[in-house]
Assembly symmetry: C2
Homo-oligomer: 331 residues x 2
């Protein structure tokens, strides 16, 4: 199956798959029967405080509570029947795990999730509730990857990488595409960046559909590999990332780095303190639950990290999966 | 000014104003430039658990975080210029206070809010931020009413009662009207009941626009005056209401009681424990913040208090104003 024919490219790096807005359009059609078209919310409070018109794309209201379902669903629904019959495997202890598990269930195929053996019980249960099999491993990145590869080799299961995969990037880009369809024109588009799947898809969609807009990545200071890589011109992974934004601990892949270099204007960083404050402000003012990772672009706005006065700003609120018994502002 | 001309009645009680669906339609047009048309959300979790199709009308996403803005806005925007020039006054320590304050600011007129002197500072500040004047009084109902009347007599300000007022009831009915417009037909419509403004408006809209549907009121056991009044055939106020659903402490008025007797099928009660559980479940599964009062109809559904299997159910989620530092499930 040729997933990524060599169409005129938005992003074309030698030796790498081509990802363009057409792939995002195809992904949108593919996931439409399964994914929510999430609400876009506005808030007088944020508009007044920032002197801007801010449009929040609520991926916390997406299936499994995060944008991750878009990419996983696109990847799983892209498989040929032969590929699908062998099942899928991925490594994730976060939202991607649930996303792959649900997408596989919707297609009626097996899913195996390689997960750190110290992952919270609630996360394991959520994945199991979708009917996926969990393989617990030592919480060491190279072990997790090795076990995933081994399972794929033995069973023939297709690996669904959390972000460094064109099908994932195209799927994640559908959120920005919907946002632009609904409220274009925009001047600024913001997304958080961890592995870079969401930021890549967002930047491709924005560059194609709203070319006058600048896409910015926003990242926690404690896991600032994307910022360092972007400014340094080469991938510099985080050795010991440490941030409350637990969805953004991973580092860029070669594919997401290439897309981001091409389409993203800049990457700014914010402190954990400002993330918690932004998260609480969204909860209080907008009455929606967002996780720390989703609060990162909001922290960038509230902290004055970007010049948005008088502008129309799109923000991808990436997810809403938090432990309601342990809120960061409740001591 | 004749606000409620004697048109063919949905609800016509001797000596009482007539309130019909036309008044709700007028209210909808009047508040349209100011109020949000709030999102309607669905949840696979709730549908699976209940074996029903449930449509949540998210008034927690309304201005000031509650449906109360609809009624207050309709009342304030209904005033003649002469009335408006004298300002408005109301007594409330809750969402109605903020709603009147914002509506008055939008019309550019004075608002005075008579508020218990033990109301939390955060609630006082919210009202003051909208430019309203607060008159603190002893936390005794008859004192609050007396002071309100006195202010009205001296200043000529128009009293905006929190619920026992046709303009308020018509405004609150616009939420159900929007819900029905969007997802009719429905079999069951649910709303919480305190003073009865929301339930009255909801039941009038439902009876007129979705006549095959039954409207149910849902009430905390610790403030069950509406249930007792409904079944006893006369108003029986709660003496010492005690419930976590702090928006539902008030008792029915004569006008709301008359509407509810006519259009509501039944009123069911739920425990505070089940309210907290329902609130947490909505937060966790739907990623939206609702206050305890809004969780009351959800508690009725989850507790099996109503036969909804195979049915299409509308639920008015009334508001989302909670103290994020003191969540009821965090010990």
């Amino acid at each position: 199956m040729v997933l990524w024919p060599d169409v005129p490219a938005q992003t074309k790096i030698v030796g790498m798959p081509t990802i363009g807005v057409d792939h995002i359009r195809e992904a949108a059609a593919r996931i439409k029967p399964y994914a929510h078209r999430t609400a876009v919310l506005t808030s007088r409070y944020f508009d007044d405080r920032l002197g801007a018109a801010v449009f929040f794309k609520c991926e916390n209201l997406q299936k499994v509570g995060a944008f991750k379902f878009r990419g996983a669903c696109n990847a799983v629904m892209s498989l040929s029947d032969d590929e699908a019959s062998r099942g899928v495997v991925t490594h994730s202890s976060g939202n991607h795990a649930q996303a792959v598990a649900l997408a596989a269930r919707l297609r009626g195929i097996d899913a195996t999730i390689v997960m750190h053996n110290n992952a919270p019980a609630v996360k394991r249960r959520a994945v199991e509730d979708y009917g996926a099999r969990i393989v617990p491993v030592e919480p060491v990145e190279h072990v997790r990857v090795a076990v995933t590869n081994e399972i794929a080799q033995h069973s023939g299961a297709v690996i669904i990488h959390p972000y460094n995969d064109p099908r994932i990037i195209a799927g994640q880009g559908t959120a920005a595409m919907e946002l632009i369809e609904e409220i274009a024109p925009l001047d600024v588009m913001l997304a958080p960046v961890g592995g870079g799947g969401l930021l890549s898809g967002t930047s491709i969609a924005t560059a194609a559909l709203c070319p006058q807009a600048d896409t910015f990545g926003t990242e926690p200071k404690g896991a600032d590999d994307a910022c360092r890589s972007f400014h340094g011109g080469q991938i510099c992974p985080s050795d010991h990332p440490n941030t409350i934004a637990d969805g953004l601990l991973t580092s860029l892949g070669d594919l997401t780095f290439a897309v981001i270099r091409r389409h993203v204007r800049d990457i700014v960083t914010v402190s954990d303190e400002s993330i918690i404050d932004a998260m609480r402000t969204v909860w209080m003012r907008m009455k929606i639950i967002i996780e720390p990772s989703a609060a990162v672009p909001v922290a960038a706005l509230l902290g004055g990290k970007l010049a948005v006065k008088g502008k129309r700003v799109g923000v991808i609120l990436s997810g809403g999966n938090v432990d309601l018994d342990r809120l960061p502002w409740v001591v």
